[in-house]
Subunit: 243 residues, 2 copies
DNA sequence: CTGTTTCAACTGGTATGACCAGTTTGTTTC
DNA sequence: GAAACAAACTGGTCATACCAGTTGAAACAG
């Protein structure tokens, strides 16, 4: 009755927004030029421009004359790192706090990934997994993070991806600390790999419950292991950011 | 040297914004047509339209085909509280995404609160709980939020508190939407109260597992309830601010 | 005179095409 | 090799024409 057939312009802004949310265009990255979008979206440049204006109004993109439009990297308003980073320094406990949070988040991500992951997602996860296993070098905090990130993205939950990504800086740091503390015990490195495999298998065989369990207990295990060591060797964590 | 002489369009949007802020055009009121603005502002219609789009993006005006543009009566709640806020508009899915994340976070918070909460924490939670129960008014998004916040703080996990707090802006709005959609069904309001009681009891009797379960299933319940309604009445969420 | 129909004049929505103005890049020139 | 320059990008602005809802007043029917 009052169904106005949604103006195309709304649709354009919406579609672009979705592309950004889906990660097709990432924060800081340049999006196609107006002329290109005109083609890609099959509408006139006027519409493209108006859609971009709308997104600009929402603070989603920034535009520079002669250069192009870019996805605002200020996107991660959630949990801005500076604050957390601040918490971190001098408070080794924050590492545990962080892991406590990640425990749930990673669990949820794994679960959703098992439910919703596409073949493409699985491919990415597999690649990350392989890269992780090959490198017996113990320094690969980044690879570890890539693996978890691939899973997060497979959850197709923008908010979840967003929050986890916001914790990225800390995560990286924490993983670094973790590895440097845990991995020179070879059996632990093996255990971690085993965990990853469990998560991996659960997701690819589409068993959400199992994936959740595997992911949470993985983080839990890392946390408690770290805790034990910390109690023994006392104060190792503080030193972790000095290189 | 790098001072690019502010594009006119920015100026247009700004001038219009100023007119509205100055009270020349009041909330709910119609602003001049695009053609009129073209004259009044001395620029082309394209620019006027783009400026209007920008204002629309900020939520300052609403536009209706054939009728005109009107100043939003829900004036900007202070620019953009967070960018995520915008993801909402037209993306009801994001609400579910958000609840999926909160499900775990709230669960963890409740669990930790049960483990670590002090008597003072419990006192605060109790007060929030009472305030929540007394107000049989259904509009108390804030009270609901206060309750969950008290629990979060009782977890004594700064990271968790911070992340949950970051989601506050969204939570508030989502809760608002939630309530306005759920609560006019009286039995649901009762169910929610019951959930809160369960969480409350679990925490104060220091039963972490139970608290976790109660909190997660609470959010889960809210999410699925909302989902059902959304599927039935279809599109209600978008309309939530039209009265 | 009343109620309906109709149509013209609004309103915003979309599409072209032209031209201006910064930016980048590769070529030419010294 | 370095400086100068000239396309070929990019976004910014304008003018014009036409489509599509909305509204209200004039024309008409009863």
């Amino acid at each position: 009755m009052f169904e106005q057939p949604t103006p195309i312009s709304r649709g354009i802004a919406h579609r672009l927004e979705q592309l950004i949310l889906d990660g097709d265009y990432k924060p800081g990255q340049k999006i196609p030029s107006e002329r290109q979008l005109t083609q890609k979206l099959g509408v006139s440049r006027s519409l493209v421009r108006e859609a971009l204006k709308e997104l600009h109004g929402r603070g989603i993109i920034e535009t520079h004359h002669g250069k192009g439009s870019f996805v605002s990297d200020i996107l991660p308003v959630v949990a801005d790192e500076s604050v957390l980073m601040h918490l971190f320094q001098g408070h080794s406990r924050t590492l545990y706090d962080l892991l406590e949070v990640r425990e749930q988040l990673e669990g949820q991500a794994a679960k959703l990934a098992a439910e919703r992951g596409t073949q493409q997602d699985f491919y990415r996860i597999t690649k990350a997994m392989e890269a992780l296993e090959e490198s017996d070098a113990l320094v690969n905090a980044k690879l570890d993070h890539d693996f978890h990130r691939a899973i997060a993205e497979a959850s197709h939950n923008p908010v979840l991806i967003h929050v986890l990504n916001s914790l990225k800086g800390l995560t990286l740091q924490s993983v670094q600390v973790t590895l440097s503390n845990l991995s020179h015990r070879n059996n632990i490195k093996q255990q971690i790999d085993k965990h990853h495999r469990q998560i991996y298998n659960a997701i690819l065989s589409r068993q959400p419950q199992w994936a959740f369990k595997a992911a949470t207990s993985h983080v839990f295990h890392v946390r408690t292991s770290l805790q034990e060591i910390d109690e023994k060797e006392h104060g190792i964590i503080r030193k972790a950011n000095e290189d």
